[in-house]
């Protein structure tokens, strides 16, 4: 696909413009639930509206959006996140002192990624009876660098590959929802300090961080600057250090757990089922 075609795909850009206007006009909606509140953010409506005009999701949408528009949308995701990342940088800069003060917590907080192995892996293997795909699915939060690790070690067509791709796709589809909901629930329950929750927002992709820190800011508006600075710094560190943690700690640990908990010497079932 030529770059020029992507740029001149007016149907795609016009749709995005319309979606953005509608989403921003609706604004943030707060839904109280028992233990806290869920915040519905414009970026979540934008994602849902995007799905609704996606012909792969709603067949009738093909009268407006063509397969070529769907293809052109993919590279636009990375470009559209750039101004957001730049803006994030401008929030981190002035708050450098807050970040330096939180330094040790920020660096060690990467260890919290191991929480996924502790919580998800036993359920996948013991309760759901999954095979080796549980290794790929549970060793990390399954973003692009983690896929690269699995692709390198097992190949993406392996069972481990199917596991990491499954979680990647679910994360891509619903990750913003899950993180926004987690952040708004924890922010309103008061179990953790807001700074700790902000740092935890940085563990996933850029859009996950956006949804997560956005939900936190909407819940605790008076701490906006600190929340965004800590989430952003944590996200930068995730890219810098998270990968090493995955390669040298999380993946070997998950492998060991599988030897211990997983099915013993049975013929490997086919991937995905």
């Amino acid at each position: 696909m030529y770059v020029k075609e992507i740029l001149l795909d007016w149907r795609l850009h016009l749709s995005t413009l319309a979606i953005t206007v509608i989403a921003e006009a609706i604004g943030v909606i707060k839904v109280p639930i028992g233990i806290g509140a869920i915040l519905l953010l414009p970026l979540l409506y934008a994602f849902v509206m995007g799905l609704l005009i996606n012909p792969n999701v709603i067949r009738a949408a093909k009268v407006w959006i063509k397969p070529s528009d769907v293809k052109a949308a993919s590279p636009m995701i990375v470009i559209a996140i750039m101004p957001f990342i730049a803006k994030f940088g401008t929030i981190i800069g002035p708050s450098m002192r807050t970040i330096i003060d939180a330094g040790p917590a920020l660096i060690l907080q990467e260890l919290g990624n191991l929480g996924t192995v502790i919580l998800a892996f036993p359920v996948a293997v013991l309760a759901l009876g999954m095979g080796r795909e549980s290794i790929g699915a549970c060793f990390s939060v399954a973003r692009e660098p983690n896929i690269a690790i699995i692709a390198d070690k097992y190949g993406l067509k392996s069972q481990e590959g199917a596991g990491v791709m499954g979680v990647y796709v679910i994360g891509t589809l619903f990750g913003t929802f899950v993180f926004a909901i987690l952040a708004s629930i924890f922010a309103t329950t008061g179990l953790f300090s807001v700074e700790a929750l902000a740092m935890a927002c940085g563990i996933g992709s850029g859009s996950m961080m956006a949804a997560c820190s956005g939900a936190l800011v909407s819940a605790v508006p008076e701490m906006k600057e600190q929340i965004l600075a800590l989430a952003g710094a944590s996200n930068v560190l995730t890219y810098a250090t998270g990968m090493y943690l995955c390669v040298f700690v999380a993946l070997p640990m998950t492998e060991k757990l599988y030897d211990w908990l997983g099915p013993k010497s049975t013929p490997a079932p086919s991937a995905g089922e």
Binding site: T20, V70, G89, G93, A102, L108, G115, A124, M165, A196
Partner: protein, 158 residues
């Protein structure tokens, strides 16, 4: 489904040159400017100046991605440029902070997620379907585990 499933590597990006990036960023900034005007009290000129500055920061980051010999993702460079430009001891940082303050950060994520919704391909829907409900349950646990785990560790060391 008898044919072998093949997964494209999602880390592979379409190769855009600098000029194409510049033009695509203009498209994104126009969408963001309209969104910013709808979402906030900021005037169009205020939003425009803010977005021009952000566009400039992105471009510096992209130039660095292309020029610097060791490989870092472009978003990492852009983030770094944004940080350095606004450090308290960087000359002119106050001006940068003031101009970009008229652009709402959450609004900038809205067009990105709209593109993401439109970009979902048949392949991704197929993976979600074949992996089934089990992988969905596991994925939610993975995200929850990572979030709570990180929050606990951060809480301990703060």
């Amino acid at each position: 489904m008898s044919d072998t499933q093949t997964f494209e590597d999602p880390t592979e990006e379409a190769k855009f040159g600098l000029g194409a990036h510049a033009a695509a960023l203009v498209v994104v900034c126009i969408v963001a400017l309209v969104g910013n005007t709808v979402a906030t009290e900021n005037s169009v000129p205020q939003g425009l100046v803010g977005l021009i500055v952000l566009w400039g920061l992105c471009m510096v980051g992209l130039v660095l991605t292309a020029v610097v010999p060791f490989k870092l993702p472009s978003v990492a460079w852009i983030s770094l440029v944004g940080i350095v430009a606004t450090l308290p001891w960087t000359p002119g940082s106050a001006w940068v902070v003031e101009t970009v303050s008229h652009v709402n950060f959450l609004t900038l994520a809205t067009p990105c997620l709209a593109y993401a919704g439109i970009a979902i391909a048949k392949r991704e829907i197929a993976i979600a379907k074949t992996s089934g409900w089990k992988i969905a349950v596991v994925a939610v646990l993975v995200m929850t585990g990572t979030y709570v785990g990180s929050a606990i560790v951060a809480q301990l060391f703060l």
